[in-house]
């Protein structure tokens, strides 16, 4: 992994004292998290540990009960929609492609709304983004309903990249995909991170993703968060983390990484 070569860089997004509760159930209790510019941060946790709520909180879709989110040192609720669109790209779990628009129109929508580029330029850019996301050229005119699961994720990724955001949020990018396709998505995320210098935050269950491409991993345990590199987390004293990272599936993922089948 190339993490060692990289200089410790500035914090681009940070959460301070986040509390989220639904009724009496507290999901996050004074949780802190820092995302560094240029890294790939994985967020993991058991079912119902509030991963998706955390993601929504981080991108400003969900207002926490207390605490604040700073994006580029500015409180996220004070950032204008246009500026936010240029800073943040989100890949939703089901892709959330607009079903009435073709794939190319989906990618061009943010450009059309937030820039003054002529249509011919938007089309050129959309073609490049789709190619970056690894979609064949003929998929541009297809509609979301005609795409396979992996292609939906790639198209949604191309749309998330439309305005070249500084941070890319991915909600379960490899869920519902076969392991080959999932591997391809992992590879793509890594390529975009290294090539475009984009910061990536991944919420995932996928141990292969955590082991193979994440620079650091944030584990949601007991309403708090534990952040470290995955190698250090392997020696964590916390029983849940220990169990997760020493489960047979995790062993498989580690084995894959060591034997060089992994990426990175």
């Amino acid at each position: 992994m190339s993490t060692s070569k990289r200089k410790p860089s500035e914090v681009i997004l940070s959460a301070h004292g986040i509390v989220n509760r639904f009724g009496k159930q507290v999901v996050h209790d004074k949780l802190d998290l820092e995302v560094r510019s240029g890294e790939i941060l994985g967020i993991a946790g058991g079912s119902g540990s509030g991963k998706s709520v955390l993601l929504k909180t981080l991108v400003g879709l969900h207002r926490p009960d207390s605490g604040k989110i700073l994006l580029n040192n500015k409180a996220i609720e004070t950032i204008s929609p246009g500026e936010k669109a240029a800073l943040i790209g989100v890949l939703f779990q089901q892709g959330a492609l607009f079903s009435s628009l073709s794939v190319a129109q989906n990618v061009m929508l943010p450009m059309r709304e937030h820039t003054d580029l002529p249509v011919s330029e938007q089309e050129k850019l959309a073609a490049v983004k789709l190619e970056l996301a690894g979609l064949p050229a003929d998929s541009a005119m297809k509609f979301p309903a005609q795409l396979s699961g992996g292609m939906v994720k790639r198209a949604a990724l191309a749309r998330a990249l439309a305005l070249d955001p500084r941070i890319l949020f991915l909600d379960e990018p490899t869920s519902d995909l076969d392991s080959l396709t999932a591997g391809g998505i992992d590879e793509l995320i890594l390529k975009l991170n290294r090539g475009l210098g984009i910061t990536v935050v991944i919420v995932t269950h996928d141990l292969n993703t955590l082991f193979n491409i994440c620079d650091r991993v944030a584990m949601l345990v007991d309403k708090k968060i534990v952040v470290d590199t995955v190698d250090k987390l392997l020696h964590s004293k916390d029983s849940w983390i220990h169990e997760l990272l020493h489960s047979p599936r995790a062993m498989g993922a580690i084995h894959e990484r060591k034997s060089g089948h992994g990426i990175g």
Binding site: A86, S99, S100, A104, M111, T115, D116, L117, P118, E121, E123, K124, L125, A126, A127, V128, K129, E131, L132, A137, D138, A140, M141, A145, L161, L163, D164, K191, R194, G195, L196, G197
Partner: protein, 373 residues
């Protein structure tokens, strides 16, 4: 040398011209791209040797990199690029950068003909589907009535509550409003002839024979026909119908029949309710406009109508109900895969149900006229 350039807002690109060399200073991204293209376009045309100095470039995104790749393809030399930007540039330049595939465009007249053909084809298929589904519906309904043990009372009563009882307030209100509208319009037309009182006949006869049942049927088509299509459609999209099938339970028996029975019970009752409320509306307007009190009004109504007027209205209700229910369920079961098709099928169900209601109403009018009712 003159300066070929631009408004240097902070963070934007400044283009400086000295000789055959141009320096980009600032950020080249999706926001500044247009400006840079405008300034550089002139420059590229004017000169023969081109060197573009990128040493002062602070930021570059994929759109900027794409632009630089295109310049490089036009033999502009890119100098002084930082390692970080180089990496991005190489990544973008290495792509095929094929133009976006566009659907072949068709001349308008051909599009029109194609649409027309598709439309006719759709109507044909739709008619076929409706006929087939009506037959299946009748079949399932008769089977259920012959074998009452297969009826599902809980489901039927839930549907009666949903399609009937909860529709009472809106149906009643609509009936009152419509009778007031008819009353007012009738009054304006009848007054010159001194036939003010016949407004009561007009309201009573039109509400009982036509408006009561029509308004109720349209309301129920909008309320319950759409609900049938949406409920069953969502079940279909979530594979719940398939799950039923695998368990050996038929959607027809479990979902369609209870709804059909419920709506065929509630629509006549709602129609009767709407008739009463329509007469109440008539009473209100005759009190205020003609000064006829409710009791004399009832006497007038008795003279104006007989039982056949009431039954002409009520007899239509179960038939309208059957078509509203069958069309709603049919479109629900026609949902394919995605959630968006639920919305489309629901809209179609309502449009088709109201269309059928009005068609059958017209047929009934002709029929009753022939029968002398």
């Amino acid at each position: 040398m003159q300066k070929t350039s631009s408004k240097a807002a902070p963070g934007l690109v400044v283009v400086e011209d000295d000789g055959g060399r141009i320096t980009l200073d600032g950020v080249l991204n999706i926001r500044t791209l247009d400006e840079v293209r405008a300034s550089l376009g002139v420059w590229v045309k004017k000169r023969k040797t081109h060197v573009l100095d990128l040493g002062k470039l602070d930021g570059l995104d994929t759109s900027g990199a794409l632009f630089l790749c295109e310049l490089r393809d036009k033999h502009v030399e890119l100098a002084g690029i930082s390692a970080e930007h180089e990496q991005l540039l190489e990544m973008i330049c290495a792509l095929d950068r094929k133009p976006l595939v566009k659907p072949e465009s068709m001349p308008r007249w051909r599009q029109f003909i194609v649409q027309l053909g598709k439309g006719v084809d759709d109507i044909g298929r739709d008619t076929y589907d409706v006929i087939v589904f009506v037959a299946r519906g009748v079949n399932a309904l008769l089977y259920a009535l012959i074998h009452p043990s297969t009826l599902r009372p809980a489901s039927i009563s839930a549907q009666i509550s949903e399609t009937g009882i909860k529709a009472l307030p809106i149906v009643g209100l609509m009936a009152i409003m419509i009778s007031i509208v008819i009353g007012y319009q009738g009054l304006v037309q009848l007054r010159p002839y001194g036939g003010d009182d016949f407004m009561i006949n007009l309201v009573a006869v039109s509400m009982l024979r036509e408006m009561g049942v029509l308004i109720t049927a349209i309301m129920v088509a909008g309320r319950s026909g759409s609900a049938f299509a949406a409920e069953i459609g969502v079940m279909k999209a979530m594979e719940e119908i398939d799950a039923l099938e695998v368990m050996g339970l038929g959607a027809m028996e479990l979902l369609v029949v209870p709804r059909l029975i419920a709506i065929m019970i509630t629509l006549p009752l709602l129609t009767f309710f709407a008739d009463i409320m329509g007469l109440v509306g008539g009473a209100m307007i005759s009190q205020s406009q003609l000064g006829i009190a409710p009791l004399p009004y009832i006497d007038r109504v008795r003279l104006a109508i007989d039982m056949s007027d009431l039954f002409v209205g009520l007899i239509k209700a179960p038939i309208f109900a059957f078509f509203i229910g069958i069309v709603g369920c049919m479109h629900g079961l026609r949902v394919r895969g995605s959630a968006e098709s639920v919305g489309r099928e629901t809209t179609r169900a309502v449009v088709k149900a109201i269309f059928l209601v009005i068609i059958f109403d017209a047929l009934f009018s002709v029929l009753f006229e022939r029968l002398g009712l």
